[in-house]
Point group: C2
Chain length 224, copies 2
């Protein structure tokens, strides 16, 4: 690559990084101005037009990068957890929180903007979540330990709840970083413990699953 191309690509990425940084400081993407971004990245406002037509195009590229990161973390952890029978739930969850903590920015952006104020990001994120759910569903289909739960709609429901909860858990973990330092440790432990309980609640549900045709009568806690 030529010197000029190299430098351009570096600026390009610096702008995206600066936008992610601003978003991670708790700003809604729809509320980040081009001029503010130009200050963050230390370029003149007009320079940004050499890289992006407008903030929307920038947002779409930012979503592409953050989605890729999230996909790779979830896939990696999913593989490790579901294909290694000796992986403890608590270990898997600790690995998850560790991954989130070491790069919280993509999670913050993805989760904040999921129901946030930009139409194009909202729909883009819903598409990405859909892909995550489909991928996970096909992974779950292959698992022998899920034989009692083989109906596609059951597996999709499970995949969806796992993705939704992952995002919720990630956000709760990140929120702890914003607390005063002296209480962080106890919150982290409580968060971990609670997440493990929730995951195990799901695992017990899976273990004792009956396909929908079998469970239409007894589906209330008091009626079983």
């Amino acid at each position: 690559m030529s010197l000029r191309e190299e430098r351009k690509q570096k600026s390009h990425q610096a702008i995206l990084d600066a936008a992610l940084r601003l978003s991670s400081r708790g700003r809604a993407f729809s509320n980040i101005s081009l001029r503010e971004l130009s200050r963050e990245v230390e370029l003149v406002p007009t320079a940004l037009y050499r890289h992006f037509k407008d903030m929307q195009q920038l947002g779409i590229e930012l979503l592409d990068q953050t989605s890729l990161h999230i996909k790779s973390v979830l896939n990696q952890l999913g593989q490790a957890y579901f294909y290694q029978a000796n992986t403890r739930t608590s270990t898997a969850i600790e690995l998850f929180f560790q991954a989130v903590e070491s790069h919280p920015e993509p999670w913050l952006f993805f989760i904040s903007e999921r129901w946030g104020g930009s139409d194009f990001l909202r729909s883009g994120i819903e598409r990405e979540v859909h892909f995550l759910v489909e991928d996970l569903m096909h992974e779950l289909e292959k698992m022998q330990s899920l034989q009692q739960m083989n109906a596609p709609q059951d597996l999709r429901g499970l995949a969806q709840i796992l993705i939704d909860l992952s995002l919720t858990w990630a956000m709760r973990w990140i929120s702890i970083q914003r607390l005063p330092e002296d209480i962080r440790h106890s919150h982290r432990e409580a968060c971990k413990a609670q997440t493990i309980i929730q995951m195990q609640l799901l695992l017990r549900g899976i273990l004792h699953w009956q396909s929908s045709s079998q469970r239409t009568i007894a589906d209330h806690p008091d009626s079983v």
Copy 2:
């Protein structure tokens, strides 16, 4: 109440309603300007200062109102579902979606701003979510059908997952309203079916729960 007071209160509420309307159209609260709001409510911008010191105070009042609505819906449905053994899960979920659909605005505001771009709303909503979880936890404590799950931390984990999922489900239901009309019906049915599956997954997990001291070994799907 005097005529003047009455009219003032009416304007006051009209401003809050207009803000909720703008938020429901997909705008981030942090991105709603005082002038835009004044246009929506058909008052001159400066008139808003007679009612609110600034947008933050308005946001806090708006959060109070929306929280109250959400609390009352969740409490009502929770009572109906948990205290009537003959309430089918599918019926409870249909009632929930019906409640959300008839007044989607508070849910949209609450869920969008939960991880949104305003610090004061984020912390306010987290406080409200915490109250919801505590309330639900104490309701669950009283239930005889949850005797196998009586450790406080287990109940808190359950209450938290139920609240988090309620918000996720509400948002998914509302998102369907934004789709083209001809595919809405099928999406609604799929959403309902999937939500029922997810709720039943949790119910089976509850039924077969063992308190944490009993389950430290066998907590992986493949190891049981």
